[in-house]
């Protein structure tokens, strides 16, 4: 880290002390032109990724999947099966890598932990009154502590969108700081719920707010509102982590979640990472896909590339 980055970092760390300072800083960030951002995202989507590049992208995407189930109907049996799939996504092919993490509700963490222990697959738990975040702070923090105690090493929190949209940035900031401290050693992913933030300017501000408050990852969505991850939203977030590292020297990860279902979609995201922030982020430590059905499409395309033929869905496991 350079001397200027160090001093910038210490200046930025002061911002959270005052509502005015935070507001001045966040509203001083360059704006995002909606048309331009969407056009850039669409352009990147036209890259043609074939043969060796496609094979490389598919394996990388598999390693980046946060295999997720967040249903009221989740049971120990269901999440154990999901964890087993995370370890060996393609039982027929031992060369297939395992996924990045399994992502479940706090109550399901102990069952997943039994399966994943020592495997290198991370265990993520949503917390902080996911998905709305509309609960008293103490309850949200207790949620986090319980998940960590049960074995989660990554916590996916939701920000307080009500406070953010009302302009109470310090309240949002303080909640993230408190959650980060409740996490202990666990990595904190901050869900911005970009579908509720509505504008790209808000996405950029929320991204910076989450990073300033200590988030290790910024994540687009809960998957529980109609608009989940999109390419332009992810572009704006990638630009934010790029600029944040340039200013402070600290690298923050990005996780688009919800609505990414096909290999083609996943490759568009990887191209965007490659051409926006570069190779440093092309790693499961710094980029993840929050998804469930994506994995099977990746496996089908992977099998197609190695065998030359498409297999039917019955050749891939359900969970």
């Amino acid at each position: 880290m350079t001397a200027t980055a160090t001093s910038a970092r210490s200046e930025l760390s002061e911002l959270g002390r005052s509502e005015t300072a935070l507001r001045t800083f966040l509203h001083g960030l360059p704006g995002v032109d909606q048309v331009g951002a969407e056009q850039r995202a669409a352009q990147l989507g036209t890259r043609s990724i074939k043969t060796t590049a496609k094979a490389q992208a598919i394996d990388l995407a598999i390693r980046m999947v946060d295999l997720t189930t967040l249903e009221g109907a989740d049971t120990p049996g269901k999440v154990r099966a999901l964890a087993a799939k995370a370890l060996r996504p393609d039982p027929a092919d031992p060369s297939c890598p395992h996924v990045g993490a399994v992502c479940v509700y706090p109550a399901m963490v102990p069952y997943v932990a039994e399966v994943l222990r020592g495997s290198g697959v991370h265990l993520a738990s949503v917390a902080t009154a996911f998905p709305s975040g509309q609960a008293p702070l103490e309850i949200k923090l207790a949620d986090v502590r319980a998940a960590v105690a049960a074995g989660a090493d990554e916590i996916d929190m939701v920000i307080n969108r009500g406070a953010f949209l009302a302009g109470r940035y310090k309240e949002v900031y303080d909640e993230i700081v408190a959650t980060k401290s409740a996490c202990g050693d666990a990595h904190l992913k901050v869900i911005l719920e970009t579908g509720e933030l509505a504008t790209y300017d808000n996405v950029r501000r929320a991204s910076w707010l989450a990073m300033l408050a200590g988030g290790d990852f910024i994540k687009t969505s809960t998957g529980k509102v109609p608009v989940a991850a999109t390419l332009p939203v992810t572009l704006v977030m990638l630009e934010a982590v790029r600029d944040f590292r340039a200013a402070t020297g600290r690298q923050v990860g990005v996780k688009p979640a919800g609505g990414i279902k096909t290999t083609k979609d996943a490759i568009k995201y990887l191209v965007m990472v490659n051409e926006t922030v570069g190779a440093d982020w092309l790693d499961p430590d710094w980029f993840r896909f929050g998804a469930s059905s994506l994995l099977n499409d990746l496996l089908m395309q992977r099998t197609k590339l190695t065998t030359g033929v498409y297999s039917g869905p019955d050749y891939f496991t359900l969970d």
Partner: protein, 476 residues
């Protein structure tokens, strides 16, 4: 690292003939008094085809064919019937767009993603748009019964071969004129396939005539006494010569010439999108764009930040095989153009501007030039005044909006300009004061057939596109 594997578009969709004649009176004919020349692929220097060079007699034959078609068929034809032909041409262009895109990239050197996603959709859109006007001319605002001019002589450049053809031919035919068109000598092939499309559409013989050749052919065409209208897109130097040749005749003239557009970035601009706009403004089509944003004016307070982002972005540009779907910057169109870009860039260095290009490997054969920016440029530098017509950007700074306007207007040209700011009122204030035919706000190089395009000052006169584009082809 994530390396993209080669993703070449297939050449097999194109069937290039070994040689092409002139398209006169509905058929391909051999030249009577001209010779032949070769069209090459600028990315490999491979010869693509041998093309006829029209001499004065050939030009005369083409003009006579156009005259006859105008008097007997096309002029008297009701607008609704002319429209049917134009719609038919537009649909065939769409159907054959992949073939035309590949051929355009082969002959011109532009990346396939641009010929596929920009040129060809716009070509078809132009024909569709003007087809719609053909039976509505009384409602175009040029009087109750506007009449065509007659035979139009049209000379087009090599930077957007098929698109410039569409800009010329579509409004001319919609208004009831017949045409003799001369494509540029380095890029004649898509115009010749267009001639085939005219045959395929059963367009009456003589309505469209294509005479290939270089400067002499063009001169014979615009100076021909049987021509009623001259339309030219190209360099200001040639435009001047044409204006002189046409002066004192009955011929109506429109010129679309050079440019040295200012792309102006204010300190409140959306920086990431502005950087995309700067890249698109100067590196689109290798900078072979008359309205390219070749002068970047940045407000001093954000200059370092914008330049840092711009350099980082330029390092991502992929230069190489125009047929690879992931190529961003293709080949320079000709050895002569490459020489001119080199000469002006060397002048930039010699005059003290600081030159920068990203690390990029250029192919050995063919004509290539790495994307380049010059910083520390002043208004006095040649690279700030002369049109380079290549992937070379001159960067200047300004302090106030008034200074930005002053610098932007301080050029003999006036084709286009770009403004980047979050402040709507400033966009309007600037647009009122910029002497440029097109002013883009928070975007650049956006084209649409409904929007008129043309210049101030030495960038030419007359407008192409939109309702305004009909005026140049009507007796008003």
């Amino acid at each position: 690292m994530f390396e993209y594997a080669p993703a070449p578009e297939s050449r097999s969709v194109v069937d290039i003939k070994p040689s092409y004649g002139l398209f006169v009176n509905g058929e391909f004919v051999d030249p009577t008094d001209g010779g032949t020349f070769k069209s090459i692929n600028p990315a490999s220097e491979e010869v693509l085809a041998e093309v006829a060079e029209a001499g004065p007699q050939d030009v005369d034959r083409a003009v006579r064919a156009a005259r006859e078609a105008y008097e007997k068929v096309w002029g008297p034809m009701p607008g609704r019937d002319r429209a049917k032909y134009l719609y038919r041409i537009a649909r065939i262009i769409q159907e054959r767009s992949r073939e035309l895109a590949v051929l355009e990239s082969l002959d011109n050197g532009k990346p396939i993603k641009e010929s596929r996603d920009v040129d060809l959709p716009l070509v078809a859109a132009h024909f569709f748009y003007y087809a719609g006007w053909a039976d509505k001319l009384p409602y175009a605002g040029f009087g109750p019964n506007p009449q065509p001019l007659g035979v139009a002589a049209q000379v087009i450049p090599w930077n957007f071969p098929l698109l410039m053809l569409a800009w010329k031919i579509a409004p001319a035919l919609a208004a009831g004129n017949t045409v003799v068109l001369k494509p540029a000598e380095t890029t004649p092939l898509t115009a010749l396939v267009f001639a085939e499309i005219c045959q395929q559409a059963d367009l009456p013989a003589g309505v469209v005539n294509i005479v290939t050749g270089a400067g002499d052919t063009g001169r014979a065409l615009v100076e021909h006494g049987g021509v009623d209208k001259v339309a030219f897109t190209g360099s200001t130097e040639v435009g001047r010569a044409i204006a002189r040749a046409v002066a004192g005749t009955r011929k109506k003239l429109t010129l679309e010439l050079g440019g040295k557009a200012a792309n102006i970035v204010f300190d409140d601009a959306p920086i990431d999108q502005a950087v995309e706009g700067i890249v698109n403004g100067i590196f689109f089509n290798q900078g072979h764009v008359c309205c390219a944003g070749s002068r970047l004016l940045i407000q001093e307070s954000v200059a370092d930040r914008v330049l840092e982002s711009l350099k980082r972005r330029m390092a991502q540009l992929r230069v190489g095989d125009p047929l690879d779907k992931n190529t961003d910057i293709g080949a320079i169109n000709s050895a002569a153009q490459l020489e001119r870009i080199r000469e002006l860039s060397d002048a930039g260095s010699a005059e003290g501007a600081e030159r920068w290009s990203p690390a990029c490997e250029l192919p050995e054969r063919g004509f290539w030039f790495a994307p380049t920016i010059f910083t520390g440029v002043t208004q006095a530098h040649r690279i700030a005044r002369e049109e380079i017509f290549g992937p070379v950007l001159s960067v200047l700074t300004f302090r106030t909006p008034a200074e930005a306007v002053e610098k932007a207007n301080n050029t003999p040209y006036g084709l286009s300009a770009g403004i980047w700011t979050d402040k709507g009122s400033r966009i309007l204030w600037m647009a009122d004061r910029l002497r440029a035919g097109v002013v883009w706000a928070n975007t650049f190089n956006k084209f649409d057939p409904t929007s008129p395009f043309g210049g101030y000052k030495e960038s030419g006169y007359g407008r192409e596109g939109g309702r305004h584009g009909l005026e140049g082809y009507l007796n008003v």
